[in-house]
Amino acid sequence: MTPIVEAKNLKKTFGAFTAVEDVSFHIVKGECFGLLGPNGAGKTTTIRMLYGYTPLTSGALKLFGEDLEPNLRKLKYRIGVCQQENNLDPDLTVLENLQVFARYFDIPKSEARTRIDRLLEFFALNNRSKALFTDLSGGMRRRLVLARSLINNPDLLILDEPTSALDPQTRQQVWSRLLELKKEGLTILLTTHYMEEAYRLCDRLLIMDQGKVLVEGKPGELIDRYVGREVLEIDSPDQKLRDFLISQGYMFDDLGTRLMIYNHNCRELFDAIEKVFDHKNCMLRMGTLEDVFLKLTGRDLRE
């Protein structure tokens, strides 16, 4: 089967700065694919290349089996994009925002109305169709942008940080809508730095940093591979405990006041530490995608 997206060795430089280097991936039909990475990792640049906003410096990009650049216009009819900012028209109502967008896709008026009613219903905005953008809450604005990105019944939905700056309730609601869309067979590409979001929504994902791909795989597999099922966190360990761990051959990440132990039989170790050291600051928990992410991209602050 032809992949929906086929990106080969994508590269983007801005002057001397390389924003994206040698990024390759593919997305098959019905899949939700995630692009993860800290700020400045090149996620947005990558997806901007995907909808033709940013020209490639080098590499090859195919959508629905066709080369992007020569077929850009035609292909853009088939993708829906939800950008990071809520770039809605502040002068227009909810309904008008969607109508104006429908015109950009040459959707006839009556057909647009049918789709808009359905989308407003789907995103629980049907009571707000006459509201001005300025009267909407942050969550409603986000839902409206999402609704707008679906106006052309896209075969590929591109979401750039769809839930950043949303409260937990709204985020959950957006997730459930996205999961429904996924169930209907929509192919989705999303960028995020919420690991929980990636874990819940993505079938496969790619972690990138400083423009390069670090790893690619299924969320569960990546957790197994890089941190293991269980993670042991030890808060304020003393030297004796450190010596013990080293003598037993345990590898740990030393964060100064905290040790993280991955990829071992952590339960056994947890019991041992508790018994021998009476250490109450030990926490045994499930490994998460966040552990993978931090392990691979480091813990330094990104500006």
């Binding site: 801005f14 993708i79 770039n87 028209d89 502040p90 002068d91 104006v100 015109r103 950009y104």
Partner: protein, 263 residues
């Protein structure tokens, strides 16, 4: 020919134009007032106030009252301001603050169509403003010649020229405050010295030369010909000037916008 010159632009630019019309329709009750009211203000201040001290003047050998002399100037400057404001301040707000262009870029529209739609809209605003102003002039009973009805057509051409100019500045200014520079150094001097409120001939020769290089001079020549019904061959030169001026600034605005936004 247009297709050959601008291969990337399809009729889709009308969608962008239509978007601006949709927004305009929401605010028309406020937007249509200034052009309708402006002639009243100017005509009271300049016409009635100044007429008392300014005698009739001679324009191309014909005696013209001061009010009749400045009506075409008001039309010309309105055309200039409406289009220039639209593609400078208003387009900049859409580009920078509302991210309207970004949103459009994710649809089948391309940047050239977006910019063309914006400029076409600015010309439309000039058209609307000029038409409303003619209505205002008519209400005041100051229409001398029915060829004043040609002015809306001139508004489309002049509006396009000044709209392209505004868009050119939008493509290069670092922030919205910077528009004060072209306003102060280009638009305001034109407003005053383009044969608008006094005949060009009263200026020293060198200043006349500068004025002749400015687009508003030519636009006002054309609007004055229409309102007074005085035609002469040099009008063709003015028409040609505005066309060439547009053909210079329009592609330049497209190119500079491309450079600014596509990275």
């Amino acid at each position: 020919m247009i297709k050959a010159l601008f291969p990337k632009i399809s009729r889709r630019f009308l969608r962008v134009w239509q978007r601006n019309l949709t927004v305009y329709k929401k605010t028309w009750k406020v937007s249509f007032l200034p052009p309708l009211m402006e002639p009243f203000l100017f005509i009271v201040a300049f016409g009635i106030g100044l007429s008392a001290i300014v005698e009739d003047l001679t324009y191309r050998g014909i005696k013209v009252s001061y009010i009749d002399f400045i009506i075409p100037a008001l039309l010309g400057t309105t055309i200039m301001y409406n289009a220039f404001f639209e593609t400078s301040f208003a387009s900049f707000v859409r580009m920078r603050y509302q991210k309207t262009f970004d949103a459009m870029m994710a649809t089948p529209l391309n940047l050239e169509e977006i910019i063309t739609g914006e400029i076409a809209w600015s010309a439309t605003k000039s058209f609307i403003a000029a038409t409303l102003m003619i209505v205002g002039v008519g209400i005041l009973g100051l229409i001398d010649n029915l060829s004043i009805l040609l002015v809306p057509l001139l508004a489309l051409l002049g509006g396009f020229a000044f709209g392209a100019t505004g868009m050119f500045f939008t493509s290069i200014v670092p922030n919205i405050e910077t528009f004060n520079l072209p306003m102060f150094l280009f638009i305001t001097p034109m407003f005053l010295f383009s044969g608008t409120f006094f005949p060009l001939e009263t200026l020293p020769q060198w200043a006349q030369g500068i004025a002749l290089a400015l687009p508003l001079t030519h636009l006002v020549r054309l609007t004055r010909a229409a309102t007074l019904g005085i035609y002469h061959l040099s009008l063709l030169g003015s028409l040609a000037y505005l066309l060439l001026y547009s053909l210079f600034f329009y592609p330049l605005a497209l190119k500079k916008m491309q450079k600014r936004l596509i990275k």
